[in-house]
């Protein structure tokens, strides 16, 4: 085991944790455009570049569509790249999300999540990143500033090995603007962990290639199927990368985190920092009050860690899937619920499962609210989606 020699702990917001991780990863090109609550990431990176602490090309662009386009171009040329966005910015960049994954470019993008318009909300929920869940990107959802820092570094390793773009998402404001202690790795060690491996094809005048060409009906389908295989492979790679990271730096998370699930009768399955911290506290409270409660947190959201989720919930009597996004008009409004329900149906696992929507537009979530989910599960199965905390 190779543990870092110097332990350095800083008080950082999750946004600054991203910036420190990007600096440690020694990126070449950063496209910056401000959007709340992402802005302080690129502010900090601008500061690093201005102070000569990071030797990167910092491109000021005129929109998020341009920001992602700029890093698509730079990544195609072989550079290690970074950008960040949130909410409407991610929506504006949506077209380019497909291009980045279709071209198989190892881009890393941070997304402190935020509700989408209309009405305008700068506050937190997961409506933005959930709109980007089916575009061929790997998506991590981190639950602490430390995990955000570690995940950005892991993301580069995964992206460059799987040749897939990666989103590192976490709660806007609740994490992006709140300070936590973060243990920083030695930068030389991070650079050893992220060796610059040659890519199969890059834009190079000495070896000309065409990227992003037309594919007629006799070709297109095969390239999309390649992406299906790549995401399946990324599931395995993500686990490997986490294990390697854990060996190198002493911190690992797995793709799914199970809290008090060994003997749990009732589980909350969820994602993100606020929901997860409160859910853990609610599980503790429920245990004190005699309910065998547990929490399953999805850390790797795409590719969906089906086997790990099913394993975690296999012993429960009932579960609630707590979503912090509303995807309108489906058979249930929670995006994670649909994933979990599909995973259970496809494997033949039949458990009573209820979809609970909570924390939309940063509606406050109390531990007591989440405790009520456990009591609700104990009372019996419910079929309808529960919109917890809304005035109806």
């Amino acid at each position: 085991m190779q543990i870092q020699k110097t332990r350095k702990i800083e008080a950082l917001t999750s946004n600054y944790a991203v910036a420190y991780a990007v600096k440690a990863a020694d990126v070449d090109v950063i496209a910056v455009y401000p959007i709340t609550p992402q802005t302080t990431i690129v502010e900090k990176l601008s500061e690093f570049v201005a102070n000569g602490e990071l030797n990167a090309e910092l491109i000021h662009v005129e929109s998020e569509h341009s920001a992602l386009s700029a890093v698509v171009g730079a990544s195609a040329a072989g550079a290690r790249v970074f950008t960040a966005t949130s909410s409407q910015g991610l929506e504006l960049a949506h077209e380019v999300l497909h291009i980045a994954s279709g071209m198989r470019l190892p881009i890393v993008m941070a997304v402190p999540t935020r509700a989408v318009s209309a009405p305008i909300s700068i506050h937190n929920d997961y409506g933005d990143v959930m709109n980007a869940r089916d575009v061929g990107w790997v998506i991590y959802i981190a639950a602490s500033a430390q995990e955000v820092y570690d995940t950005v570094i892991q993301a580069y390793r995964l992206a460059e090995r799987a040749l897939l773009p990666v989103i590192v998402a976490y709660d806007g404001f609740l994490m992006s603007h709140t300070v936590e202690p973060v243990e920083l790795n030695d930068e030389e060690e991070v650079r050893k962990f992220l060796p610059r491996t040659p890519r199969p094809y890059t834009l190079n005048p000495r070896r000309p290639v065409t990227m992003g060409p037309l594919a007629s009906p006799d070709w297109y389908y095969e390239f999309k199927y390649q992406q299906v295989l790549a995401l399946q492979e990324a599931y395995k790679i993500a686990k490997d990368v986490d294990a390697e990271y854990s060996r190198a730096f002493g911190r690992g998370y797995g793709v799914v985190e199970a809290y008090r699930m060994e003997d749990a009768d009732y589980a909350i399955v969820t994602y993100g920092g606020a929901a997860y911290g409160n859910a853990k506290a609610a599980a503790d409270l429920a245990r004190e009050r005699g309910i065998a409660a547990g929490v399953v947190r999805i850390r790797l959201y795409r590719p969906f860690p089906t086997a790990d989720v099913l394993k975690a919930i296999s012993g429960v009597k009932a579960l609630a899937v707590l979503d912090r996004a509303i995807m309108f008009g489906g058979p249930a409004e929670g995006p994670l619920y649909r994933d979990v329900a599909t995973a259970m149906y496809m494997s033949g696992l039949d458990k009573p499962a209820v979809n609970v929507i909570h924390g939309i537009g940063q509606r406050t979530m109390y531990v007591e609210d989440l405790y009520k989910i456990y009591t609700m599960l104990r009372e019996g199965p419910r079929k309808e989606v529960v919109f917890m905390g809304v005035r109806i």
Binding site: L163, P200, Y201, P213, S216, P217, D218, F223
Partner: protein, 103 residues
Amino acid sequence: MSLPKATELPIGAVVTEPGSTRRYSTAGWRTLKPVIHDDRCVRCQLCWLYCPEGTIAEVRGVFKVGGKTYDVKYEIIYDHCKGCGICANECPTKAIEMVPEAP
């Protein structure tokens, strides 16, 4: 013709050789193909003019057809013809026939 499988293609749809568009068939979705019956063709040039893709080639030479001699004939470039049928529709002598593509 058998095309490469998904796992055999370059990752990310990269075209790995320069100048490859000359060899790139853009006719894969054609279901009907135009066939020119040269004996009915009066060299009016309308098919050549109307083709939206420029896939009708004007070939120079000496061509004896029936009792007549022409210095030009028209051929379809099947690598690029999408089978839209405009040429067959415009042809005043019905010299162009739309024939089903072999499966």
